[in-house]
Amino acid sequence: MPTPSFDAIVVGGGHNGLAAAALLGQAGRRVLLLEASDTVGGAARTVALAPGFRVPEIAHLANRLHPDIVRKLDLERHGLAFAATNLSTTSLSAEGRPLTLAGAFGERLEGDIADSERAAWAALRGKLLRFAGVLAPFLAQVPPRLKNGGVADMMTLGKLGLGIRRLGRDDMREFLRMVLMNIADVLDEEVGDDRLRAAVAFDAVLGTSLGPRSPNSLMTLFYRLAGQANGVQAATAQPRGGMGAIVAALSAAAKAAGVTIRTDAAVASILVEDDRAAGVVLASGEEIRAPVVASAMNPAVTLLSLVGARHLDTGLVRRLSHVRSKGTVAKLNLALDGPPPFAGLGPEGLAGRLLTAPSLQAIETAFDAAKYGRFSDQPALEITVPSATDPALAPAGQHVVSINAIYAPFRLKPDSEAGRDGFEARILAVLERHAPGIGNRIVGKDFLTPADIERRHRIPGGHWHHGELSIDQMFMLRPVLGLAQYATPVAGLYLCGAGSHPGGGVSGAPALNAVSRILADGKAAGGKSRR
């Protein structure tokens, strides 16, 4: 058998695939990265929308790029810069009384709101950030085995326990009480202002199949608040050049680490010989061999499609086929021939996130429709205007608008394109209400439902996180029991995508943890002797 010319193959050129390849390259491995489409970046790409207009295709804000990734890969040197940091969030209100949460997660409230509300919010915000902070260290941790684990696993669990204890008695009690609560009840206990409640609830449920009143919806908010942007916890930022800038920096880092990147190279299957990964076979039939294969693709796709159930035990197959992964977010990207006419918003307002949810109840109602396979009549929108902070994204005086809309069920009942257009119309109607005349300025648009996202990016269900972020699919249960440590039953095959702990969002954390596992296994097997 010829010695493989690569030590490792990374399948999938999304941000996690790029990060994994770069980190492996830095560790001295000869790495080949394979991407099915013609450009790398996956769901973090910035794409052309119309001549002169460029827009983040799906992910449109940096709020959790892991600091270790930035540092280890020296992404600043590779061109990562932020056009704006600490973006504000403005909860638009139909009565024209917008409330702005300025700074990271509403550090300051700007707008007419009672002092009692300000005080209550400051207290709640502090508590939520503290609790999320307890969980933050585990983003960059290989989840421990629940049992039969080693000392390291015990220590990870111990650290978690200690972190909770360190909160002090009262906070610890609150943490243990609140951890599985729903965001609506949490807010009911503390704050009353509809705009504020809507803004916080929106952040809790965006990207999940939960409504504000669904238990566990506080945990998804913790996940968001555990992230950081540019060194500030729970902040959001806009990279210069759009999210694509992160991808560009990552691929630059990968190339610098000697990684070979091949686009238009879709992987058809993963070679398995004597229960070991031996390489991959491309759609073209070309066979490429390597002792290590790391897949940034969805875990179910990787193991059930690329490897094949015959190499796995039935229990694992069943668990994998039950991973819940139905997206709920639609993306609408617009090119405008002028500034978006949002009533009563200055330039600094446009630079931040705009939310259109009038109340927490409105989000809950929007969610109810999705439960039955209908899209929301009154979708809640998260609107950004990337060109407001980065003029290079659009011709002078013109703008691109990037919109996340919830809830868009993966499967509509009845399944019809009309439904798809209907939802787009609903989104534009909501938009028109807050920005009268915006419709007439549209010179280009791109609309993606979860179904479109699945088609374009091979993400099952078009789910941001490659699998619902619910407690039964988190930490040591992500993607499923037995795969949470990034290794698979097929020796040499690893998972390094968002489907693994900690989950989705442009963080690179899954890649970070997966590579540490790969390198540890390498050492155990005699390290570089493989080369």
Binding site: R173, E174, L180, D185, S214, L477
Partner: protein
């Protein structure tokens, strides 16, 4: 109403406020330990929400709780309830009638039920074996905790640490897969959980039922898988998950408890509504009745829910501010109503085979998870469900003592039913509208049902609260979500049955392990009282080992 015993100036060892089943269980154990115990009850009868009432000539109504399974066998035997007249008759199953005219029978016997599921889907029939094995495993895991006082995870007291270790060891005794399944069970929605086993809508709907009964959650709400467990962890004569009727109605449970209590020297005083708990230099010293009569006791145990106990029987200044805030935030959500009906004879259900045993069990008309969730959406909007979920029983098919020969008592538990209608209090017209919704649903499947109705008692949360005192008419004295379970129930730091006021204890369903006619809160609270008095608990057995 029993005349007040001539006990002026007497100081009781313990006064139990409320003669619900937990109050009585608590009183029984205290009396058996040699305490001189008085139980004061507002109504003229005992039992709280476990009563049999004669509301129509010749009929006995189990007009609140209506079936029995959760009552701990340890308690039944400790307190010799069978000797005092308690007889629980298991029922064998029930049925779900489908909108398309079909039905899914349910059978207590595993193989029979498996065959019935097979009529709808062979795949589901196979999955049923996996499913029940997993559920039973979870029940076995949880049952030992029911009769233990939850530890305070923030405390370093030896006892708390020891209890935490016990919890941890029990968990660590599981295999890794079982651990994972346990975590999933405590956090998933029942619908998602069932999706991993079953494909047929009506089969899923059947198993969803136990996931929603008594809660203000829908089958798609995470956390409902645990609620299912809460309904499965009981047993009848050792048959885990079995349910039965108490002969003579649910009141028979309370009557046997009261009888056992009196037999060990206890005193019950009905028709005595407590207005305030008497607090003297920081300690509970007795109670004051409506009308000002003072009854003194060395300690007071409250069977009432936490909002009643602390916001009505006490003054805010008497309690820590943070505690009061947490009690106000305690989630007690009325989500169900009850319609009790006296029937002239057994109604026909043409969809069912003539000789079928189904009328002797629980009957339902909700054949899909979606319809169940839809019923919940109405509740969220502050309306009673237009297409409600019914848990319907005709106990007289098994226990003829509850109605005249040939006639029948029908109990309909109805979800969802909000504590207020779109924000305002229930009007009688709305109550009748609610009843009509229920009767109409039944009549869809039983053409002669309407004509058989002799009498009907309709209870929205308003009526339930009025009679039983349960805030919002919530049958569990508080939601069964994790933020209100174990060491969080009712309030973190106060989960060991002691109130912030010395000599005052809680023994209602608002405490661990929660609602249902279980008796465990009353029993556990008694254990804590006796621990404080340094008295040995007599006749109190630990949780029986689960085979």
């Amino acid at each position: 109403m029993t005349p007040p015993p001539s006990t002026a100036g007497k100081v009781w060892d313990a006064i139990v406020v409320g003669a619900g089943h937990n109050g009585l269980v608590n009183a029984c154990y205290l009396a058996r330990a040699g305490l001189d115990v008085l139980v004061v009850e507002r109504n003229d009868w005992v039992g709280g929400a476990a009563t049999s009432r004669s509301l129509y000539p010749g009929f006995l109504y189990s007009n609140c709780s209506y079936v029995c399974s959760l009552l701990r066998p340890e308690i039944m035997r400790d307190l010799e309830l069978p000797k005092h007249g308690l007889q629980v008759v298991p029922y064998e199953g029930g049925v779900i009638l489908k909108q398309d005219g079909g039905y899914l029978g349910t059978f207590r016997d595993h193989d029979a039920h498996r065959r019935e599921i097979g009529r709808h889907s062979l795949r589901d029939a196979e999955a049923y074996d996996r499913y029940s094995a997993e559920v039973i495993r979870q029940c076995r895991f949880i049952r030992p905790f029911l009769l233990r006082t939850p530890p305070d995870p923030t405390s370093l007291k030896p006892r708390d640490v020891q209890e935490l270790l016990y919890l941890g060891r029990k968990f660590y005794d599981l295999t890794e897969t079982e651990m994972a399944d346990t975590v999933r069970f405590w956090t998933m929605s029942i619908a998602e959980f069932l999706d991993e086993f079953f494909e047929t809508d009506v089969v899923k709907a059947g198993f969803c039922i136990s996931g929603i009964i008594g809660t203000a959650l829908g089958p798609l709400s995470p956390g409902t898988a645990y609620v299912l467990l809460h309904h499965y962890m009981g047993d009848v004569d050792g048959a885990i998950g079995a349910w039965g009727f108490a002969r003579g109605g649910m009141g028979a449970i309370s009557e046997s408890l009261a009888s056992s209590f009196r037999a060990s020297g206890g005193t019950v005083r009905t028709g005595a509504s407590v207005d305030k708990v008497l607090v003297e230099n920081g300690r509970a010293a007795g109670v004051v009745l409506d009308g000002g009569e003072e009854i003194r006791g060395r300690l007071v145990v409250s069977n009432l829910d936490v909002k009643r106990t602390f916001l009505k029987l006490l003054e805010e200044p008497q309690l820590p501010a943070d505690f009061v805030r947490k009690v106000k935030n305690f989630k007690i959500r009325g989500s169900s109503g009850k319609v009790n009906i006296a029937l002239d004879s057994l109604p026909d259900f043409p969809a069912l085979p003539p000789s079928a045993p189904f009328l002797r069990g629980d009957m339902h008309f909700t054949d899909s998870v979606e319809r169940m969730e839809g019923a919940y959406d109405d509740w969220k909007a502050g309306r009673w469900s237009a297409d409600p979920f019914l848990d319907m029983m005709i106990p007289t098919t098994i226990d003829p003592t509850m109605a005249p020969p040939g006639k029948h008592f029908m109990s309909c538990f109805v979800q969802y039913c909000p504590p207020k209608v779109e924000g305002h209090d229930w009007t009688d017209a709305e109550r009748d509208g609610f009843a009509k919704t229920v009767v109409d649903q039944i009549a869809e499947y039983s053409p002669n049902f309407r004509d058989l109705i002799l009498h009907m008692e309709v209870r929205t949360p308003r009526e339930i609260e009025r009679e039983t005192g349960l805030t919002e008419g919530n049958i569990f004295q508080g939601e069964l979500t994790f933020d209100q379970l174990l060491f969080n129930r009712p309030v973190p730091g106060y989960a060991q049955y002691r109130a912030p006021i010395g000599g005052l204890y809680m023994c209602g369903s608002a405490t661990h392990p929660g609602g249902g006619v279980m008796g465990a809160p009353g029993r556990n609270a008694a254990a804590e009282v006796l621990r404080d008095l340094k008295k040995p608990a007599k006749d109190m057995s630990d949780a029986y080992p689960v085979l």
